[in-house]
Amino acid sequence: MVPLSYYLILSAILFACGVAGFLIKRNIITIFMSIELMLNAVNLTFVAFAAELKALSGHVFVFFVMVVAAAEAAVGLAIIIAVFRTRETLNVDRVNLLKL
């Protein structure tokens, strides 16, 4: 049996990768994928704890997160397409019309 700490360390590494990608990358698709990565890191934590504690609610939460992630992916991709159509770029630094 793999100890819980392994899962948590893996989850922390995944989450840190997600945060780093989210902050560093300029491509909007990459940023989007980083968000998904963070969500899944959290999911991993949830299921790890659920298995460890023999509690069902952790699994249920994961399903909720997946549903939300799916919905977010649909809306997010739609927005990305809309942005690309008008700005003809995926660089977030150039999507800055709200700047001061």
Partner: protein
């Protein structure tokens, strides 16, 4: 028995409401019908009430009606109710009767004016508040009426509000009254503190427990504060200054509010509170002294005024002084008697003056009048009756009332006050006959336009003051009909004058003193009001003994004093006749001889200037430099502006966080999350 007294004040209120809200679209005839109709109905109902009142058994007087509780707060309670006794009945008939006559007169006088409906709405509003003042069954309602008539007075003085002088006069009246009302209000607070509430019944009953105060006590304080209020409303020293300026209002207003009714509210209040004043001899003495001083002071100013309405205004102040003099020697009946005759003859004087002004197209300066006897015979005759009345010639009304005051003043032992009073009576006679001779006798000194000329080319020649006052009137007249020569006023203005002239003639006969074979009925009629409190007191002898009835005095003495009064009036008449009819060149020479004194009196003793320098100017300075520039501009505005500027500066710094750069937002989110996590870890470690 239920007399439904609430109907009386409500009728004029209804008239005021209808005319005030919708009158703009009404024709003048409809406005007349509403305003005059409501007043006439109120008068008729008042007569009906009077008839019923005489049928009441003595133990049902005062007749009190309770309608509903206005407010309760702890033990304090104020209600809407009416209080009808002999005193309020007299006032009721005077106010509705004279008020109605003046309403009729106004139809003629205001015919050419703009704001016709507004005028009548205000006039009815005044009637409502005045009736509320006199019918109230507690001091709080009286105060509401008291303030309300002040408001109506303000509105009507400033009726021609486009004119600076009228607007200022209105403000002056309002502010001077405010000073007095302040005193009245504190008196009411003291009453609440010591008697629990402000109902007349409670207070008059409660007074029985109070002995006469030998030195200054709570009742003296209340009395003096009430007198402060009365001196504001009734234009006594030191607050009389507003009344002469109030002549900026239309003449019917001067007659109704500033002569016949509103300004007598102070006298009514003192008479109504006789139970308090009887127990506060010091306050009573102050009332008498103020009244007497005002009587002679105002009379002396009246002697040199040249504006016909100003003469009458100072005369009003002086006559009100007589009323307070009467009340001040505990002869309340005499004071109210004079109040009644004064309402008749002073309304008559003002309305006749109005008829003259109307007939001359707005001229108010007596130096431009003269010889009007020929042009306005009717106005001349009513004015003659009024002049002889106010001067105190028997058997006209004011002879009886003024003489009763003077006699009771003497009988009360205040011989100095009597002497001043009799000198003032002589002055009254002098300035009234001066007015009479200057207006009606000699040659017409006004401008006589060439035939066919229309309107008023005279304006340029008027003293700037008089010309300006009625500029608006002049315009209205000029556009309508020219004023070639002075002319008589229309019948609708003359008819009320005739009624008032009759009343001024015979009005005093209800109070013919015993010394002249009469029965002094007016005094006996009012007696219950002024003695009821005394009867209720267990130790009757401790109350101030009111002036002994004349019967107890030597009848011959009383007759001799009447002789002196008539002699004083005759001296005044002869003086005026000599100076303003026989030797019209003399006044100017006398004026030159008197020099500084003449100018001092001509400038009304420069009291306005004195108040300006000692009170108004410092207050204005204080307000400007401390309250406005210090407190308002620096403190209040400063705090507000500085906090706004501070908020702006902070936001200015913070708004840079919102860069529009998505990755910086992402950074902030990550940073925030990191802070939260760090915080939770730190908490967990602890």
């Amino acid at each position: 028995m239920n007399l439904n007294l609430w109907i009386i004040p409500l009728l004029p209120l209804a008239g005021a409401t209808i005319n005030g809200l919708f009158g703009k679209r009404f024709s003048n005839k409809l406005v007349n019908a509403i305003a005059l109709g409501s007043t006439a109905l109120a008068f008729i109902y008042a007569i009906y009430v009077a008839a019923r009142f005489f049928g009441l058994p003595a133990d049902q007087i005062p007749h009190i009606e309770h309608y509903f509780t206005w407010m309760t707060a702890g033990t304090f309670m104020a209600e809407f109710g009416t209080y009808l006794d002999q005193l309020s009945l007299v006032m009721l008939l005077i106010v509705t009767g004279v008020g109605f006559l003046i309403h009729i007169y106004s139809v003629g006088y205001m015919e050419h004016e703009g704001g016709y409906y507004r005028f009548f709405a205000y006039l009815n509003l005044f009637m409502f508040f005045m009736l509320m003042l006199i019918l109230a069954n507690n001091y709080l309602m009286m105060f509401v009426g008291w303030e309300g008539v002040g408001l109506a007075s303000y509105l009507l003085i400033g009726f021609w509000f486009l004119k600076d002088s009228a607007a200022n006069a209105g403000k002056k009246a309002f502010i001077a009254n405010r000073v007095g009302d302040f005193g009245f209000l504190i008196a009411l607070f003291l009453l609440v503190k010591h008697f629990g509430n402000l109902q007349y019944e409670t207070i008059f009953k409660g007074l029985a427990a109070y002995p006469v105060e030998a030195s200054v006590g709570v009742l003296t304080a209340i009395g003096l504060l009430m007198m402060v209020g009365a001196s504001g409303k009734s234009a006594q020293i030191p607050l009389y200054v507003w009344l002469p300026d109030a002549m900026e209002g239309p003449t019917p207003v001067s007659a109704l509010i500033h002569a016949a009714t509103m300004v007598t509210a102070g006298v009514y209040m003192v008479a109504r509170s006789n139970g308090i004043f009887n127990r506060a001899p010091i306050a009573l003495t102050v009332v008498a002294v103020i009244g007497t001083l005002t009587a002679i002071f105002a009379a002396s100013i009246g002697i040199l005024q040249t504006d016909i309405k100003k003469v009458l205004a100072y005369s009003t102040v002086s006559q009100l002084g007589y009323m307070f003099m009467g009340c001040g020697v505990a002869a309340y009946g005499a004071g109210i008697f004079h109040l009644m005759t004064h309402a008749f003859f002073k309304a008559l004087l003002f309305l006749s003056a109005g008829a003259i002004i109307h007939g001359l197209g707005g001229e108010q300066d007596m130096r431009h009048m003269g010889g009007l006897r020929k042009y306005m015979p009717k106005a001349f005759w009513v004015m003659t009756i009024a002049t002889f009345t106010i001067s105190g010639f028997p058997p006209l009304a004011a002879f009886f009332s003024k003489d009763e005051i003077l006699w009771k003043t003497w009988a009360s032992g205040s011989h100095i006050l009597w002497l001043i009073g009799i000198i003032a009576a002589g002055m009254t006679s002098f300035y009234m006959f001066r007015l009479w001779f200057m207006t009606f006798f000699g040659e017409y000194r006004g401008p006589v336009p060439e035939a066919g000329s229309h309107g008023h080319d005279a304006d340029g020649q008027h003293a700037g003051h008089a010309g300006a006052i009625h500029a608006q009137q002049d315009d209205a007249h000029g556009s309508d009909h020219g004023h070639g020569l002075p002319h008589e006023s229309p019948m609708i203005m003359i008819a009320p004058l005739i009624v008032l002239a009759v009343l001024s003639f015979i009005g005093g006969w209800v109070g013919i003193p015993a010394a002249l074979g009469g029965s002094d009925r007016f005094d006996h009629f009012l007696d219950p009001v002024f003695h009821s409190v005394r009867v209720a007191e267990p130790r009757g002898e401790s109350a101030v003994a009111p002036v002994e009835p004349a019967e107890h005095e030597d009848r011959g003495t009383e007759l001799a004093f009447m002789g002196i009064s008539v002699a004083a009036a005759s001296i005044g008449f002869l003086g005026a006749w000599f100076l303003y009819y026989k030797r019209t060149d003399l006044p100017a020479k006398l004026a030159a001889a008197a020099g500084g004194l003449y100018r001092l009196v001509l400038d009304k003793y420069r009291i306005d200037e004195l108040y300006g320098a000692t009170i108004i100017h410092p207050i204005v300075l204080l307000s400007t430099n401390v309250l406005w520039k210090g407190v308002d501009a620096t403190l209040i505005d400063g705090t507000l502006n500085e906090s706004a500027a501070g908020a702006r500066d902070i936001s200015d710094g913070l708004r840079h966080m919102q860069s529009g750069n998505i990755r910086s937002y992402a950074g902030w989110v990550a940073f925030g999350a990191a802070v939260v996590i760090a915080f939770m870890v730190w908490k967990g470690v602890q």
